[in-house]
Symmetry: C2
Subunit: 412 residues, 2 copies
């Protein structure tokens, strides 16, 4: 893609009214635009990142035999009344009335999933059921000062699993937890599984996936030796205590939540009367669990943990492009010609390249924009490179000169 044609270029000034690093960087680099507090447009660069994250997650969901669906966002009041959450979750839920009918915007989908199951699954042989979707969530968050880490509207992947009994749920629950850890690792995020409260979802203990991060909104206690970790909100221990599990040292850190998993048992299905006859002909209420990953929040977390003083430093598999190609405006017209050649040959080789072809922008500014945007590899062609191409990785300082052949050998 030609940078001159890209919608959403870099912005020079720091955005007013943003205090979080992720929002500042993403806005300045042209990935997102703020419509209002807690609500952002994904510009072409931002959408490319989301699509890559989505593919990584979808591939893992399919591996654990979950099936993709798409559930509505506008829900009738009556379905929320069945579990009592029309009242109990009133604060977080956007509710509205139109032509004497009342609706809620989806902040989660347990009720809709259980309604689907009671309408579509009639035999114990059809359990477990595992369905997920990528869709928009709306939550009336009071504090939205963390940029894209906490939005009032955001994209989420939510998975729901329904089981005949607790043991089967327990098995799958930890299978999903493992799958989530794989996803976060692929996204180059070091996540910890942390015990936490259930908010408007459940009174049970839930598990959050927390990424250590200075500017995270949560505080967690974790053991430096074993996998013990708790959210401060529910913890009875504190920093420097000894670990209740292994006697290691408990550390304290800010962290940002990237995923959350919940065991509901049969609580919701009893309220909604979702049951099936088991193989002995006995009525069993369905055991439900749900599992969420915030995609827009992941972009924010990657940026919070992958940046330097010059800008974003994308991991390879979530970068909007593979290559940032720059040519230096010059009187020697051959340079542009060579750059266009390289550009087209990269495209032919399925290398996704952003070419900063702007003619009235100096090399200094192009380098600055390139570092701000943060694509893993920068290629420069100028008078000084003498027919060769200068290759530099975003997270390294050294540059090397490569011939065209050497370049393609390295890249493809």
């Amino acid at each position: 893609m030609l940078y001159s044609e890209l919608f959403g270029k870099t912005i020079k000034l720091d955005p007013k009214d943003e205090i979080s690093k992720n929002a500042k960087l993403l806005i300045k680099a042209g990935f997102i635009d703020k419509l209002m507090a807690g609500s952002y447009t994904l510009l072409p660069l931002g959408l490319k990142v989301i699509k890559k994250i989505e593919e990584i997650i979808r591939s893992e969901m399919n591996k654990i035999n979950a099936q993709e669906v798409l559930m509505p966002l506008l829900h009738p009041k009556n379905i929320w009344n069945e579990t009592g959450r029309w009242e109990s979750a009133k604060d977080i839920m956007y509710q509205l009335k139109k032509n004497e009918k009342e609706y809620a915007l989806s902040f989660t989908h347990e009720e809709v999933v259980l309604d689907l199951i009671r309408k579509h699954v009639f035999s114990y042989k059809d359990f477990p059921v595992k369905i997920y979707h990528f869709s928009t969530k709306f939550r009336n968050e009071l504090r939205v000062k963390s940029g894209i880490l906490r939005g009032r509207e955001f994209v989420m992947k939510d998975l729901y699993s329904a089981h005949l009994n607790e043991e089967d749920l327990e098995d799958y629950y930890w299978k999903v937890a493992k799958s989530y850890q794989k996803i976060f690792k692929e996204l180059d995020l070091n996540s910890k599984i942390v015990e936490a409260g259930g908010g408007v979802f459940t009174d049970n203990i839930t598990h959050e996936f927390q990424v250590l991060c200075d500017r995270g909104e949560d505080t967690i206690f974790y053991c430096d030796k074993c996998d013990f970790a708790q959210n401060k909100e529910i913890s009875k221990i504190k920093g420097n205590d000894s670990c209740p599990k292994c006697k290691g040292l408990i550390k304290t850190s800010n962290a940002t939540e990237v995923g959350n998993i919940f065991k509901f048992g049969a609580s919701y299905s009893k309220k909604m009367n979702v049951s099936v006859l088991d193989k002995d002909g006995k009525k069993q209420f369905i055991h439900l669990a749900s599992y969420g990953i915030g995609l827009t929040r992941l972009i924010g977390t990657i940026v919070e943990t992958h940046n330097d003083e010059k800008g974003i430093v994308w991991p390879k598999n979530t970068s909007p492009f593979d290559i940032h190609l720059i040519d230096v405006p010059s009187e020697n017209s051959k340079i542009s010609e060579l750059t266009y050649d390289i550009y087209n040959e990269l495209i032919r080789n399925n290398v996704d390249v952003l070419y900063d072809d702007r003619t009235q922008i100096g090399i200094g500014e192009k380098f600055k924009d390139c570092d701000l945007i943060g694509i893993p590899v920068r290629l420069v062609i100028s008078d000084k490179t003498d027919g060769k191409i200068e290759y530099k990785e975003r997270n390294k300082n050294e540059t090397i000169l490569l011939s065209k052949d050497e370049l393609f050998k390295k890249l493809t």
Copy 2:
């Protein structure tokens, strides 16, 4: 995929409270589920179809140099006040209030797009701007008796183009119209470009893409010789008149709208003060057009126009699977073995296959479900096929027996 594991199987009874053919067939065949009037969940089969339609549209959008973004669904009141549509579109728009702030759910995105342009585009050289997204629309439709053809919540691809002047807009407008015709043709829909009114969008004439269809909600007049066509709502002629353009005969038909394109000129950008200095330094208000295709509505239209008394007859490129494989329960265990072999070999050859592996379902019911679901090719393996495979296309009556080699030659 094994049919025994699919979430969303066929349903025997006709759904109560649905009068449209598309909703009846899609619900019975397991593609969609109704949450409430005008709002449906896409089950795995339905989502697979939507994804295929989405890819066909995305590929065409990229060919006309449009860039994909994702804009929010919940909008602040103030942005709708800028154009006056907070009041003028009050009937169709869902509005809500939370913590003393007022919001609207997106029924369209012109205001958000113009806001993006005034914040991100500062030079005449950066026009035209062409951005699109796939996202959810909410419209308070009073009559929702047409199944998935008219929803209160639905998935839409909307494209917006912004230009320095009317001529450039006019050029691109017809380029998009051509691109839309290509899309509908690829979806095996015979669409006509029909002059229509602009509703809450504009007082100008707009153009609809209408597919002739007995159960369509619109009535159109069209010439049997030339491309003249008008929606009854704005037309001054009637059936059997002579064509005002070529004197051909005017015909009348029910039709269903699958796309709609609008020229706004500078009307909205004047209200929102979106302008740029042209190359002579003169302030120009931006000329805007928008272009919509309803994806969920397309599924409904394809089903309305592609069915027979037995069920749906999917076109190849939007069918949820390439092949519907059936084996006949038998005491000869070799049959199942052969079927699994074929099933796995099809998958290895990237043929997307739905295998009805249910053991307690008779062949009659399997055939019925197969015809209802409507995948283009049915393969049957039974005692009678004697090691060969019976091949039948959904829209033909004849069956042929093929050896494994012959089958793979035919399919891959």
